[in-house]
Amino acid sequence: MSSLQGYVDRRVLLVLQDGRAIVGVMAGFDQRSNIVLSDCKERVFSMDEGVEEIALGLYLVKGDMISLIGELDEEIDSSVDLSTIRADPLQPIRY
């Protein structure tokens, strides 16, 4: 599970199996890819209005709920005006 090591203390985008997108700082993880995210904000995407960010705080997410973790390029991320983005939420995982 060495692949998550590079994300510790970085700001990441977490995509959950239910389709939710959460940004936060990766504070830690374990062998089962359970992760601790601090300063979490959920990004709610919709077609009708811009992206809404909801502050969630400190989260412990079970590894089996994770679809994807991406490192956020802070420069690009802060240059994007979230209120202008229209998109459907990501699909939940379907087996």
Binding site: I35, G57, L60, V61
Partner: protein, 131 residues
């Protein structure tokens, strides 16, 4: 920091637990184990659609059914501090002797592994015949 250290430090703290089926549980953590099975006390349970509530005195949740736990923000710094203090205490208790890798549990010194355990280095025994 390990997720389980955070969880065990959350004992007696309020938390919100969401299950994979969308139900949520608000309560104080009584106990937890390595599977993230937990017991909560003074619990408010909410149905997945959010329009039904139950109050429970105490409840047990199997770790494998949990989606995530939300814990107080202050817990992170608290755990980090505790870990620093533990590390400090550990260093002092070994007292005097400087330098890392002095016996005990530290990481093995490179190259000191010797034969014995661990897979074969190259060729030879592995499974099957290889290609």
């Amino acid at each position: 920091m390990l997720p389980l250290s955070l969880l065990s430090a959350a004992q007696n703290k309020p938390m919100l637990v969401e299950l994979k089926n969308g139900e949520t549980f608000n309560g104080h953590l009584v106990n937890c184990d390595n599977f993230m099975n937990i017991t909560l006390r003074e619990v408010y349970q909410t149905s997945a659609d959010g329009d039904r509530f139950w109050k429970l005195k105490e409840c047990y949740i199997r770790g494998s059914t949990i989606k995530y736990l939300r814990v107080p923000d202050t817990l992170l710094d608290q755990v980090k501090e505790e870990q620093n203090r533990a590390r400090e205490a550990n260093r002092n208790s070994r007292g005097g002797h400087t330098g890392p890798n002095r016996g005990g549990r530290g990481a093995p010194i490179r190259g000191s592994r010797g034969g014995g355990r661990g897979g074969p280095l190259r060729g030879g025994r592995g499974r099957g015949r290889g290609l």
